[in-house]
């Protein structure tokens, strides 16, 4: 029996998409590099063998500058900064990604619902305006401080901060799209509202949503760092870039510059990588429209 039409079709489609993606990567080497950096950070954080134990203090070698055995130096407790920088990725990255994912999963459906022309949608958006009048970082701090320093609460806090973004973005994209000709055409051929939503509206929003998700992760990394900088969220002896930068900022005054440097660079790299990926995603999806 010959191969079915649909499987040939889907293989062809896959190959076409894969080819397009490959071409895209070749032209946007930045995105490829960013992806590699992030993947390396995450995998290293999870699996890499570390030269030193990242949480067992070593009082004999406190605050030593970068040298042959401690590449990035040690901190006040004698912990190897290199090992801690790497292992911090185990917490910081997954937390940031989870937080962003949760806000996506809550924010996008809400945004789609808010893009309809109902009274509920109007009221909801006014409520959202009020909610966003709070400084959300402060809100996150309060939540975590009140409900406890566990990982779940950090994710909730990050999600809270990012959900409004997703709602607004999804809503504005959906609003604009609802006026477009091909949506009207879909209605004209008899597509049910559900079909219009899933087959026409969503696929055309997905690109900007993923780009926004990438930005949200970048933002979340900074938020986590800020939280642990303030002593909330991830606390010592767990390794977190923010906490390390906190300690580093104090030791900077006494001339020990290296304590904050490595984690600072790590945050910077992660954030820039996510931004690069976001840009790349946007241009990939935009190009496909032309």
């Amino acid at each position: 029996m010959t191969v079915s039409v649909e499987s040939v079709a889907s293989r062809l489609r896959f190959r076409a998409h894969a080819a397009a993606f490959g071409t895209f990567l070749r032209h946007n080497k930045g995105v490829a590099v960013a992806g590699i950096i992030l993947l390396t950070m995450l995998l290293a954080g999870l699996f890499a063998p570390l030269p030193f134990d990242p949480i067992k203090p070593n009082p004999s070698e406190t605050l030593s500058p970068p040298n042959a055995s401690h590449w990035f130096g040690t901190d006040r407790s004698g912990l190897d900064i290199f090992s801690r920088t790497i292992v911090a990725a185990r917490l910081d990255l997954p937390l940031a990604i989870s937080g962003a994912l949760v806000s996506l999963m809550v924010g996008v459906p809400l945004g789609l619902a808010a893009s309809t022309k109902t009274r509920w949608a109007e009221r909801f958006m006014r409520g959202l305006d009020a909610f966003q009048a709070f400084p959300l970082l402060v809100l996150a701090i309060v939540i975590v401080a009140l409900t406890g320093n566990n990982l779940r609460n950090i994710v909730v806090a990050i999600a809270l901060i990012n959900i409004p973004r997703f709602i607004r973005l999804t809503r504005s994209e959906a609003l604009a799209l609802r006026e477009s000709r091909f949506i009207e055409a879909a209605r004209a051929i008899g597509a049910s509202p559900r079909r219009v939503l899933f087959r026409h509206l969503l696929p055309n929003i997905v690109g900007t949503i993923f780009a926004q998700a990438s930005l949200a992760v970048a933002h979340a990394i900074v938020v986590i760092a800020a939280l642990s900088f303030l002593g909330i969220g991830i606390t010592p002896p767990d390794a977190s870039w923010g906490a390390m930068i906190r300690e580093g900022s104090q030791t900077m005054a006494t001339g020990h510059w290296w304590v904050a440097t490595a984690p600072g660079v790590a945050v910077f790299l992660a954030v820039v990588s996510f931004h690069t990926i976001a840009d790349g995603l946007l241009s990939y999806f935009e190009r496909a429209d032309h």
Partner: protein
Amino acid sequence: MMALVELHNVEKRFPVRGGKTVHAVNGVSLSIEPSETVALIGESGSGKSTLGRLVLGLHQPSSGQITFDGHDISTMPAAELRTLRSQMTVVFQEPDESLNPRMSIGSIIEEPLVIHEPALTPGERKARVVDALEHVTLTEDLYYRYPHQLSGGQQQRVGIARAIVSRPKFIVLDEPTSSLDLSVRSAILKLLARLQSELHLAYLFISHDIHTVSYVSDRIAVMYLGQVMEMGPTAEVFANPRHPYTMALLSATLWPDPEVRPAQIRLTGEIPRPTELPAGCLFHTRCPYQDDPRCETERPVLREVAPGHWVRTFYDRDEPAVVGIDLLGL
């Protein structure tokens, strides 16, 4: 026998910001028979596009009745209306914008079948799509391509293929060739004519271009500010225009023949806002004639001045057409 599409005194009003109301369609009655082409011609603000959408049921009329194939669609619930959409389809003006950029050509064309004929197997669906592609003279290899890879003419053909795949009886064409170059336009117009005779389609052809309309349509309705001002067989209306607006339109048309210079009927002023319709005859604020006292106070009704030729005006011309264009001569 009832016509395929019938409109009785259809009106459509839209509320807009500031408490005002846009009077888009102000009492239109017309009918479309199977396999015939009726053209709606008018300038911006004439309401022709809104009327097209009313006929398709994409808007509900504020008052009046619209029937399609015997069904009253003006008050039909949405779900029931959807089932009729396999029989009345649409082709829009902007070919690139009317195709979902994330769907392949094959998926775009087969979608009406997925919706209305769910019993078909994927193989059967593909065969129908290929058949539709052949009808619009596109090759099968376009099946897996995406809209942005096609030229404007090809995109419009895809739009037409999507409109015929469900074997409809009636297609609303809203300025289908206005965005296309002349050389592409002629190919699409010929295609539409061929499809009409092959597939026994009725067309409502909406346009602002007199040349296009003269080629494609059997009957024509001239619209101004949401009303039909003149209606009748195309050749007859063009040869003997009886409404001053029709005359103005014809005289304003730029004929691509340097030696044809019709007498100019000049209109005064600008088109009134659809939120503030003039009293009396809707056209009187710009009419070069206005020699009847009723023009400012009464709305004229459609009256038959020749078989099948209706006019809505108080202007009664005895002398032969100032600006009639004899399209069948030469």
